[in-house]
Amino acid sequence: MKLKTRKCKSCGEYTLQDVCPHCGGDVGVIYPAKYSPEDKYGKYRRMLKKQMLKKQDAGVDA
C-alpha cells in the first residue's frame, strides 16, 4: 500500500502535500528502504556508494 505521509527532504517537516508547506522544498517518503538479511545486492550498493563518494571528491577538487 502506498503511504500518504511525506517528509520534506530539506527541513524534515512531515506533510500530506506534494510540496513542503514550510520551506517549499521537495518531499520524499518517510520510511527507509526495505532490507533483506541476505542482502543480495549489497556488493553493488557499496560499489555505487564508492563511485558517488569519488564523484563528490572530484567535484570538490574541481
Binding site: 506533510t15 500530506l16 518517510i30 527507509p32 538479511p37 556508494k49
Partner: protein, 324 residues
C-alpha cells in the same frame, strides 16, 4: 565550563587515573562495538525482534536488545544495544517517545470538532492495551505531553504526539474515533524520538550498518562504523547525572550503593526517587540508580548512602578495587 557550573553542583574535586577505564569516544573499535548502541531507522515489514536478530547477524555479535517495540508496519527510531550495552536499552523502555501519526476518520467531520477532541485527549488519559499485546490487558493511565495537528486533509489527520512510554498510538486513534462517534484508525505511524534518540544524522539504516561493518572487515576502515554505532553513554543523555570518584567505581560495579563521599558533582535538578545515571570522571557509564535525597541535601551531606544502585553496566575490575 560555565555551562557545567550552571547545571551541576560541585561537591568535591578529584582527578581521574588515565591508567584505568577509557573515554567513551576513544575506545578501540572492538570495545566500542561491545559497548555500542545504534540509533536505527526501522524499516516497515519485520518485527522489532527480527530487526534485532538481523543486527546481531550483520555485526556478528552475541547479544542485542531494543528500546521499545515498534509494530511491524511502523518505521522510525528503534535504539538497539549491542552486547554489553544490551541492558542499557532497559533505561530507554521507560523513556518518553514521540511519533508522527496519520489517523483516518471513518466519516467526514468538522475540522473544529477534531481539533477540540485532540485538545481534550492530552494530559492523563485512560487506555486499555489492544487485544494483541505483550502486557496484561487492564485499564491504565498514560500521560500525553503534547499533541500537535500538522495537517487535516478530509478524513486524514496528520499529527505529532509526545507521550509516555507504553502508550499505544493505535488505541489512541481508535479511542478518538469513539469519542467523535464516527470511528477512526491509525493509518500510518513513524517514531521520531525515543528518549535521547531522534531523527538526526545519527539515525542509521540497516543498509548503512551493513556497509559500514563490511568496510571495516574488508578494508580496515572503521570510521563509518563509528558513525553508525554510538557509545552506550548516549543512551543516558536524557537522565540526570552524578559523577563519582575513581575510588568508588569498583565498589559500585560489585553492587554497592553510592555514599556521599564518592560523589564529585551532580545535576542540580535531582529529586528524591528519580532515576539517575552514575558516571566516572571520564564520562563512562557505571550504573543507574535511584536518588534517595534531593540535589541540595546530597550536596550538603557528608556521610550516608545517597543513591541506591539499580542496574550496573560496567564490568567489575575496570577500575582498581579500593574497598575491603
Amino acid at each position: 565550563m560555565e555551562q557545567v557550573k550552571e547545571n551541576f553542583l560541585i561537591k568535591a574535586e578529584s582527578e581521574t587515573n588515565p591508567e584505568f577505564g577509557c573515554y567513551p569516544d576513544s575506545r578501540p573499535i572492538e570495545e566500542h562495538l561491545r559497548k555500542g548502541i545504534i540509533n536505527l531507522d526501522k524499516p516497515s515489514g519485520p518485527t522489532s525482534h527480527e530487526v534485532d536478530s538481523w543486527v546481531r547477524r550483520i555485526l556478528n555479535c552475541e547479544k542485542t536488545g531494543h528500546g521499545g517495540t515498534l509494530d511491524p508496519r511502523v518505521t522510525g527510531v528503534l535504539p538497539i544495544g549491542i552486547d554489553h550495552a544490551t541492558r542499557v536499552t532497559q533505561l530507554l523502555l521507560v523513556a518518553g517517545k514521540e511519533y508522527v501519526c496519520l489517523m483516518r476518520l471513518h466519516q467526514e467531520v468538522d475540522e473544529e470538532k477534531v481539533r477540540n477532541i485532540l485538545q481534550e485527549f492530552q494530559g492523563k488519559i485512560f487506555q486499555t492495551p489492544p487485544l494483541k499485546s505483550a502486557v496484561k490487558r487492564e485499564l491504565r493511565v498514560r500521560n500525553i505531553y503534547n499533541v500537535n495537528i500538522l495537517e487535516i486533509d478530509g478524513k486524514d489527520v496528520l499529527f505529532r504526539i509526545e507521550c509516555e512510554a507504553g502508550t499505544y498510538i493505535r488505541k489512541y486513534c481508535h479511542d478518538i474515533g469513539e469519542a467523535l462517534g464516527i470511528g477512526a484508525h491509525m493509518a500510518e505511524l513513524r517514531r521520531t524520538k525515543a528518549g535521547p534518540f531522534k531523527e538526526d544524522e545519527t539515525l542509521t539504516t540497516l543498509h548503512d550498518l551493513t556497509d559500514a561493518y563490511h568496510e571495516w572487515k574488508e578494508e580496515g576502515d572503521e570510521s563509518l562504523l563509528r558513525k553508525c554505532v554510538l557509545p552506550m553513554e548516549r543512551a543516558v543523555e536524557h537522565l540526570l547525572k552524578i559523577t563519582i570518584r575513581d575510588s568508588a567505581v569498583d565498589a559500585l560495579c560489585h553492587g554497592a550503593d553510592l555514599a556521599s563521599g564518592g560523589i564529585l558533582r551532580l545535576d542540580k535538578n535531582i529529586k528524591k526517587g528519580e532515576t539517575v545515571a552514575i558516571l566516572t570522571l571520564k564520562g563512562e557509564l557505571v550504573a543507574s540508580g535511584e536518588a534517595l535525597e534531593n540535589a541540595d541535601e546530597i550536596h550538603k551531606s557528608s556521610k550516608g548512602i545517597m543513591v541506591t544502585t539499580k542496574k550496573v553496566f560496567m564490568e567489575p575490575g575496570t577500575y582498581p578495587k579500593m574497598w575491603k
